[in-house]
Amino acid sequence: MACYLTTGKHMSLYWSVGTVLLLLAITAPAALMFGFGGAAAARSSFTPLRWFGKTYMALIRGVPDIAFFLFFVIALDQGFEWARHQVLCPDWTDAIRQGNDFVVCAEAKLPQGNAPQWVHEVYGFFVAVLTFAIVFGAFAGNVLFGAMRAVPAAQLETAAAYGMSKRQTFWRILVPQMWVFALPGLSNLWMVLIKATPLLFLLGVEDIVYWARELGGTKNPRFTDYPHGDWRMWYFLALLVFYLAFTKVSEVVLDRVMARLTHGQATAAGEAQRKAT
């Protein structure tokens, strides 16, 4: 039994848990940055930029995320290679699209054709992170946009009265104050992000779902030392428990963070805290 649980394949499964956690750790701040950019653009006084921000947020939220996952990977990959191709190989004469093939010059390939496998894996992971960040950035953008509007207008007017420029008002008054209003929405988004990670295998990353399916499948004694029947149900049960535990822990931690942040704030929750002590 112990031998079975430590085969190379199981090791890959345990590694993929690490991959998922790493993805979450990188995607969360990246999505926040995209969201911040989107929200700031949507508030901009420059009309095309405002439209761009609003379209970005509305479009991505109006379409199922899985549709983006399915075609962003190839689209992003080809986009990067095309851009590099334009810069690196200006005197390439052949067409990039030859029939069905997408051909760029060797220098523009990402990653380089002769790069070791781990570079390919890191690159695939990076594209996955970017896709997640773009999709969840739209959701984060919406939360931040709402939070920016929740900052009392009087505060901004006071800043203007003190002679602050628009830029100063934005960075010194609006941004520091919006986080309290954004936190409930952002912690909700974190939960959503956790629950979106099993879709990683659609992005070509070998994640826990991939390995659970591979390991759980019927194993024929001719091809393995550990033949067994269809165990996929049990592997998926394990995944289910893993995700339940993960969301529970996140919930507890986020509640604590929230309690600490609301401490002394002039909000309803802050007031309740004051009364309780």
């Binding site: 509305a58 479009l59 939220r61 109006g62 379409v63 199922p64 995320d65 899985i66 549709a67 399915l70 075609f71 190839i74 689209a75 069905n100 959701f139 919406n142 939360v143 709402g146 929405g185 909700n188 988004l189 959503v192 956790i194 629950k195 979106a196 990670t197 099993p198 879709l199 659609l202 779902v209 996929r232 149900m233 998926f236 049960l237 995944l239 289910l240 995700y243 339940l244 969301t247 529970k248």
Partner: protein, 268 residues
């Protein structure tokens, strides 16, 4: 082949009428629009029925979670936690395996492993849990004065629930519930991507979109078409729920009426 002919052949392909074989070569834009649109029938079917049945169960769950009795409260809490705490994707996978193992027990469970019923049940449980949490939150924020007034009138039990608690809860929960409905429709695309098999190439919109992406090797046409259909559905939901919202809030002075706002509270 003219476009009308294509629509006649493939318009209801997703539910098994019309041409049996899917187009295999010379794909036209018209075919892609027709077939992906035909697949939307399934998305709408799953979304609509899960939403309708889920609504009733969600109200019961929310009352259960709010109940002072442990026997009612604990099961409701666990149900909500399990379905909100795990990815819908894994729930579909897992649900399919569970339904398969139920099958040999009794012929009653025969159609559970087919998508039209099995996936609907999983989706129903999932949306019930999410909606129940929304309703529970609304239940907690019913103004104290409302219930006190009901008590003062001597209302209790069913009349109190029907005339005071339920309408107020619904009114408060409505904006969040609208979002739940939108994202429920989005999550119907997961069904044929997970454990549930497509029978006789009858699938949902995403199934056909990926079929075309697979055959034409060009994802840049079918997925935008799919996106367009979903934006239409989203707009339709916002419209219908907006009318309901107006009706729920018709007794309030106009500036106090809450507006519907799309918020990402509940995708999964």
């Amino acid at each position: 082949m003219s476009c009308t002919q294509t629509i006649l052949d493939y318009g209801l392909r997703a539910i098994g009428y019309g041409e049996r074989l899917l187009p295999r070569s010379d794909f036209t834009l018209c075919q892609q629009f027709t077939l992906i649109g035909s697949g939307m029938i399934w998305n709408i079917y799953f979304g609509l029925f899960a939403l309708m049945f889920g609504f009733c169960f969600a109200v019961a769950l929310a009352m259960g979670k709010d109940s002072p009795r442990v026997l009612l409260r604990k099961p409701s809490e666990w149900f909500i936690f399990i379905f909100r705490g795990s990815p819908l994707f894994i729930q579909f996978f897992f649900g399919y395996f569970v339904f398969l193992s139920l099958k040999p027990i009794h012929p009653m469970f025969e159609s559970l492993s087919a998508a039209w019923l099995g996936a609907l049940i999983v989706l129903f449980c999932n949306t019930s849990a999410y909606s129940a949490e929304i309703f529970y939150g609304a239940l907690k924020s019913i103004p104290k004065g409302d219930t006190e007034a009901a008590d003062a009138y001597g209302m209790s039990g069913w009349p109190r629930f029907k005339r005071i608690v339920f309408p107020t809860m619904l009114r408060l929960a409505w904006p969040a519930y609208t979002n739940e409905a939108i994202f429920l429709f989005h999550s119907t695309t997961l069904i044929f991507f997970t454990g549930f098999p497509a029978r006789q190439q009858r699938g949902d919109a995403l199934y056909y979109a990926s079929y075309f992406a697979d055959k034409t090797f060009n994802p840049f046409v079918p997925y935008p078409i799919l996106a367009m259909y979903f934006i239409l559905v989203t707009l339709l939901i916002i419209g219908v729920f907006g009318i309901a919202n107006k009706r729920l809030n018709r007794h309030l002075p106009s500036q106090a009426r809450p507006k519907l706002r799309l918020r990402p509270q509940i995708i999964r």
